[in-house]
Symmetry: C2
Subunit: 679 residues, 2 copies
């Protein structure tokens, strides 16, 4: 952990990097691995890769739109398809034929079809003479324009302008959309999340963290040109492998001042909030088994986030790490000394440092009022309705992100979701988040007083959740279609609350956007200087857009960690912990133990540079065949957020051979095996 | 919860109050219950009551020194008597005769023998002309002098000056000490803590939260004059009951400004720290069953504290509650308007408000450096050794509390405890608390930098814990006996760290003590005005000294909560939750289910006014016979810290009939039943 290698503008080792598909590391891979990445190979991998709008990755694995991702990527959907009586999380699910596949109405998938560099177009609209506010508006307008999709194509197309290099470049991504997606197979949660939080981000690991969906078009399985061939042998020790997925966010390009702020401010705040939530959800879950089912997704998400952030912070609290990182930044700035851009770059660094450290109080208010103070699905719906009513009156180019015509379908997907809303769970979370608001801003704050309306957080949460009619989807539709007049006339307590805080949130967002713009402009100058030194061949920070990561399958010799685990290891780990949760196995697995190949690979590790969002990414060999599905990183990979270290950071995958074995020996899923076998 | 009744100087209902044994509520009880508290009855109850220096209460229940307390009061000891191979927490323990009783070396018990009002003596040494620092020193000196015990009696006597009414009075308590205590009986943790955190502070409840110790003298069971007769019928619905125990701390006498500070500052800070610790300990516990055993006590304590603080905060965040409380304070101040003390009291309130809201940064530093930044048993030992070395050079009256000659035995008990210290568990807690220090003070703080010595919190914790020799008790003794010279010469990394931070902690403590003195003097003025209005018949805030609480056994009709639960309910609750932890039962209990009386009472509730520290308190009927042992309060009782509400607040006890049933039918503990039966 101490010797973390930093990204440097001048040298990047092949195994570090989340590469753009339009800037692939062809030379590096050829040099290190003697493998030539061909354009057709790359195109095929790109178009076989899928983004889940819930925040994960996946891939097509048959010509009939069959999709592979992680159990934990599908978990929210699997849970929402469950009820107290029919618990798909506990019992798993297998459709024996296509008629049994379960529609998941709120899911949207994107497949990247093309990329275009639009940096010049975006930069052209922002001039030096503009105020920051004008620059924000101009940038928003051009991005909205670029993202527009002809109205007759919105059902199948999506366009995203992706901001790269922290503002150094803008690329336009065009996606194929799929919005009819159905659940095909999910193992029991005990397999999908074997080892639970204790084994999360650890290796050795024993998880069947996979599930299958299918994309449909016009009511029939989607016929796709590009899909990955299933390699039944799985991953081999030492072999070259590629990950194609959607890493969410990294912060490697941040300035030292930004990282220090993250260390002293952002991460501690996140953990304070997240620890509180984890304690709340755990305690409530333990009270009753139905509570546990309802809170499961939120709890797992919170634990996952906590582990990742704790690890990042762990890295940043190492003075040697920070020193090394600071030195690299200084070296870059020194290397410009003879350059005429020195002054501009120095000013950019100074601007960023000044900008990010001002208005602490406002930033906290925005984090709270804009997000953390109202942990309630119903409040989120109310706020979206209030915002939509205002935004729909504006020209498209002036609307808040997410409210443009091009995003209408996605907005409505969330707004009219029939995901069950549990009032007790709503009250629990809302009461606690309102109490958090009181703690952070103080009970005498005028906004806090107005939000509580003379009640305690718990009583206010009860009043709001029991009083609102927004769990009724028809009611949501009426308010949405009725527009501003309907929303303004509504006496629904959630709507009233959302309207009450809307003004302050808008003011705070404006400040935050202006601040982001200043930082973005400064980063653009730094990026330009970096490009001048080393060209545009560097990979940018992750942005939940498609990236290619290169690595090899290998253990960690220094820690005696093997490159993969087997089914025998699964049963041994369970026995070691007396078969108690989260190390318990379903009866069916215990019964079929004799039939399961002891030495069949279950999970394996590789040096690929990944991060959150890569969950469900396919991992392929040099033939482009699927050898596994990424589901985790080890502890040392969690600092990937700020830096990558090939010595100890590992991506963790479910082995394709292990999935095959389970489908064959435990689940008897001949229909799926036949489909995977077909050419 | 909203209509909480506030303490008022003029009227106190009989069921509210944690009464001094030298100011018993004789009139109130006679009026409300028609029962006359006689002095002999009171003396017997007082001298049958026991304080555990680990923070709980208990009682003698046989003439041979047999003691009853809670399983959770004994848990730390039971766990320290366990090993990975012989787990008394899991399996329980029963000594079939006295030779099998297990010595617990670190335990000290106190029995209150007499009380003397020393207010005049303490107040006489502090004059108006003194500076705050001089007042602190003078008060410390007189208290040390009053607490002195002749050197030939220190083995059996202890004297405490108890500060009452937040500084309005000082009483000298003389205790009989017992330091040879042995474990006699403990049920399995699954019974002692059935329902775990989810059922904690809830009712209905099903806990056999009791265990038995025995006090020894000169190697033989202590012969005691006063002990409680065991009532085999248990508690009856509606009957008058008394609790005699040691409530730890309440804050009912605090000014409104102090309570607001608690709400906006103290409790949020506590919960931030405690949530963080709970997440850390839970996650580590879940990794491995031996981890779970090692962390159990700390985890349970953290969860318990979190629930209690969350409930208190829940009360304080209710604007109506705060308004009512504020009005009561104003009424009191109004009632003085014609009094000459008005100006003095007004000034006292103003002084307190000003004093508590200054020096936030220093208070945070003291909380961190003095307590929260070093969550390590070995560091605690190092700090005690460093302090003892310095304090022992001073005259007794000038030493820090805890380092006087009168406290030497207790100090040494802790310092030379052979409680196992687990290095992995030490590193875990120390690393996390050091990271917390970084988060709160920032990584660039000079003290933080010095503490870390250029390492990350995790690496520094490893260096300290692996480098110290303080787990060796002989080493501790050598440093303790070697005094300042030995400590100054030590190169032990924990000692070096403790010495490094000692100077700053002393400076911060001085500030805090001076601040406390200012507040205490102001409270003394307020208390004097209250005494003038209503006499000294009020009960003061809890101070972990012996108190009498009056109540009656009763359910909560408005919530349809019954007055007690039965063994049948225990088995039903377990079945409802599929017998999964923390609702699982030992095999032996399942086997003996048929023999256990279905309707035998297990737990019952009563209106007694209690709080943390009351755990293990005997609850007796009007004959002074034991009908149960207090182990919990319901959720609504947790706000007892600031106010008591008879309508919904309940104390929760294990029923004496239920304990008898378990000893008889499940454990076959004839030896104990015979002893309890004996006259």
């Amino acid at each position: 952990m101490l010797g973390i290698l930093l990204l440097s503008p001048l040298q990047t080792r092949a195994d570090e990097g989340m590469w753009l598909f339009n800037r692939p590391p062809i030379k590096q891979v050829e040099k290190k691995y003697g493998f030539r990445i061909e354009q057709a190979w790359l195109d095929h991998l790109q178009k076989s890769s899928v983004r889940f709008n819930t925040g994960g990755s996946g891939s097509f694995i048959s010509k009939n739109g069959l999709l592979l991702t992680n159990h934990h990527v599908g978990a929210g959907i699997i849970n929402s398809l469950s009820t107290a009586g029919k618990n798909l999380m506990e019992d798993g699910f297998l459709a024996r034929d296509q008629s049994q596949e379960l529609p998941c109405n709120d899911l949207e998938l994107n497949v990247l079809m093309s990329i275009r560099d639009v940096t010049a177009e975006v930069e052209a609209v922002v001039t030096d003479k503009m105020s920051t506010e004008e620059a924000v508006a101009a940038r928003r307008a051009i991005i909205a324009k670029l993202q527009e999709v002809p109205s007759d194509e919105t059902a199948t197309k999506r366009r995203d302008v992706v901001t790269l290099y922290q503002g150094g470049a803008y690329h336009l991504y065009e996606y194929r959309r799929y919005s009819d997606v159905r659940l095909v197979f999910a193992p029991e949660r005990r397999l999908g999340a074997f080892g639970g939080d204790p084994d999360n981000f650890e290796f050795p690991r024993y998880c069947l963290d996979c599930c299958f969906f299918r994309a449909y078009e016009n009511g029939k399985p989607a016929v796709v040109e590009n899909y990955l061939k299933w390699n039944r042998n799985g991953a081999r020790d030492g072999e070259l492998v590629f990950v194609s997925g959607h890493p969410g966010t990294t912060n490697r390009e941040l300035t030292q001042a930004q990282v220090e702020r993250m260390r002293d401010n952002g991460l501690p705040y996140y953990l304070e909030r997240s620890n509180r939530k984890e304690v709340l959800l755990s305690a409530w879950s333990e009270k009753d088994k139905e509570n546990k089912r309802r809170a499961l997704g939120a709890l797992v998400g919170t634990q996952n986030g906590r582990k990742a952030r704790t690890a990042s912070l762990h890295g940043l609290l190492d003075p040697k790490f920070m020193e090394t990182r600071g030195s690299a930044e200084n070296e870059f700035r020194e290397s410009l000394k003879s350059d005429k851009s020195t002054a501009e770059v120095d000013e950019a660094f100074a601007t960023i440092e000044k900008e990010i450290n001002k208005d602490d109080a406002s930033r906290l208010r925005f984090a709270l009022l804009g997000r953390d103070a109202f942990d309630s699905t119903l409040f989120g719906i109310a706020r979206t309705l209030v915002q939509a009513a205002d935004e729909s009156l504006k020209p498209d180019a002036e609307r808040l992100a997410g409210f443009n015509e091009a995003r209408r379908k996605i907005l409505e997907l969330g707004l009219f979701s029939d995901d069950p809303v549990y009032k007790d769970f709503e009250i629990l979370r809302l009461a606690d988040s309102l109490a958090f608001l009181c703690n952070k801003l103080g009970s005498d704050d005028p906004t806090v007083k107005a939000v509580l309306g003379g009640l305690s957080p718990a009583r206010r949460a009860e009043q709001l959740v029991n009083g609102t009619a927004l769990e009724d989807i028809a009611r949501r539709k009426a308010l949405y279609e009725g527009g501003k007049a309907a929303v303004d006339a509504s006496a629904d307590p959630m709507i009233l609350l959302a309207r009450m805080v809307d003004g302050e949130i808008r003011r705070l967002r404006k400040m935050e956007e202006a601040s982001d713009e200043v930082v973005k402009q400064a980063h653009a100058k730094i990026a330009k200087a970096r490009f001048a030194l080393a060209g545009e061949s560097r990979y940018p920070d992750a942005t939940f857009s498609l990236r290619l990561s290169v690595g090899r399958v290998t253990g960690i010799p220094s820690q005696k960690v093997p490159f993969h685990t087997t089914y025998d290891g699964l049963f041994a780990r369970s026995a070691d912990q007396d078969g108690k949760p989260p190390f318990d196995l379903p009866e069916s697995w215990k019964e079929k133990r004799g039939a399961i190949g002891k030495d069949v690979a279950m999970n394996f590790i590789s040096t690929n540079d990944i991060t959150g969002g890569n969950s469900g990414s396919p991992i392929v060999d040099r033939n482009g065949e699927l050898v596994g599905v990424i589901f985790d990183g080890n502890f040392d990979s969690l600092v990937n957020n700020v830096a990558y270290d090939e010595k100890t950071a590992r991506a963790v995958s479910v082995d394709s051979a292990g999935i095959w074995e389970a489908l064959d020996k435990v689940y008897g899923a001949e229909n799926l095996l036949d489909e995977l076998n077909a050419e």
